[in-house]
Amino acid sequence: MAADVVFTEESPWYTNSHTWGRITEYASNRADEPASGDRQDYLDTLGVDFTFMPDDKAVEVASWLSGVIERMLAEGEIGSGETDREHAQALIRKLHSEMQLRAVRR
């Protein structure tokens, strides 16, 4: 289903089920990374909502998800067209903004 990534201050980032399915699948397949913890639990069919996370968790999840998207871009798993790349990069920028905001709050 349509997925939303909802931020504390930035506007939501929207995507469709096709893209969100690929992101969550990619993230699941990277579960072998050390100390993946419960970060994937924050990705569900609705998307991710940082407004429901405490600051520590928001920074952790935003950092992790940003890394996932960056790797997908680098590996060509997402962003086959220029518009798609820009859309993915917009998500990364919003995630970094969330990390900064929440890090200051901590």
Binding site: M1, A2, D4, P12, N16, S17, H18, G21, D41, E86
Partner: protein, 204 residues
């Protein structure tokens, strides 16, 4: 408590109404690929949007090219995939939508590109699907998040023509919460929907 209507396969809020199926099919027959506007006879105050330019010269009917439809040419098959190739609940939701009397788009395809809604129909109208069985039955479902998402897609998100709310799998209590929220939003004169809501899912 809202009355639960068994045997009713869907509910389409009257205030978010769309053109009846037969009328849309007739429109397509007459006008080729022109898009039936949401400003049809069933539209009663809500459900319209000012962002879609009306294409004149359609014999008294209004047709529009949607913003999202313009952005994605339906002639480029690389942008789309059969709905059966979508993941999770999406293929079944698309099936339910196409069987709904409220669906006037003939056929649906899925979007591959990331910055697009879930589905597009033969008239280049776009659909975002929210909720669905996996979400409703998840032990970790946060109802506030769900209600927020439904509200965002109806009232905040640009570039889609229809929000498809799939209540399949939802409990009676969940459905009551959803309609309580929708009723509250609809009764707020300051809230203006940006697209048309179609509700799927039996037994409510």
């Amino acid at each position: 408590m809202r009355r639960v209507e068994a045997e009713v396969p869907h509910r389409h809020l009257a205030s978010f109404g769309s053109r009846p199926t037969e009328e849309a099919r007739l429109a397509k027959a007459v006008d080729g690929n022109a898009s039936p506007a949401r400003g049809g006879s069933c539209l009663r105050g809500h459900g319209g949007t000012s962002r879609d330019p009306v294409i004149p010269g359609n014999g008294g009917r209004e047709f529009h090219e949607t913003a999202a439809g313009d952005a994605a040419s339906v002639h480029d098959d690389g942008l789309y995939c059969p709905v059966s190739e979508l993941k999770g609940d999406e293929p079944r939701t698309a099936e339910r939508l196409m069987k709904s009397p409220d669906f006037t788009g003939e056929n649906l395809r899925g979007f591959k590109a990331t910055d697009n809604p879930d589905f597009i129909d033969d008239y280049k109208r776009t659909y975002d699907a929210v909720a669905g069985p996996t979400a409703w039955t998840s032990p970790r479902l946060n109802m506030d998040r769900m209600l927020n998402q439904i509200q965002r897609h109806i009232y905040d998100k640009d570039g889609i023509d229809f929000t498809v709310l799939d209540l399949t799998g939802a409990s009676g209590a969940q459905i009551d919460e959803v309609f309580k929220s929708l009723d509250k939003l609809a009764s707020n004169p300051g809230m203006h929907p940006k697209n048309t809501l179609i509700i799927l899912g039996g037994r409510y």
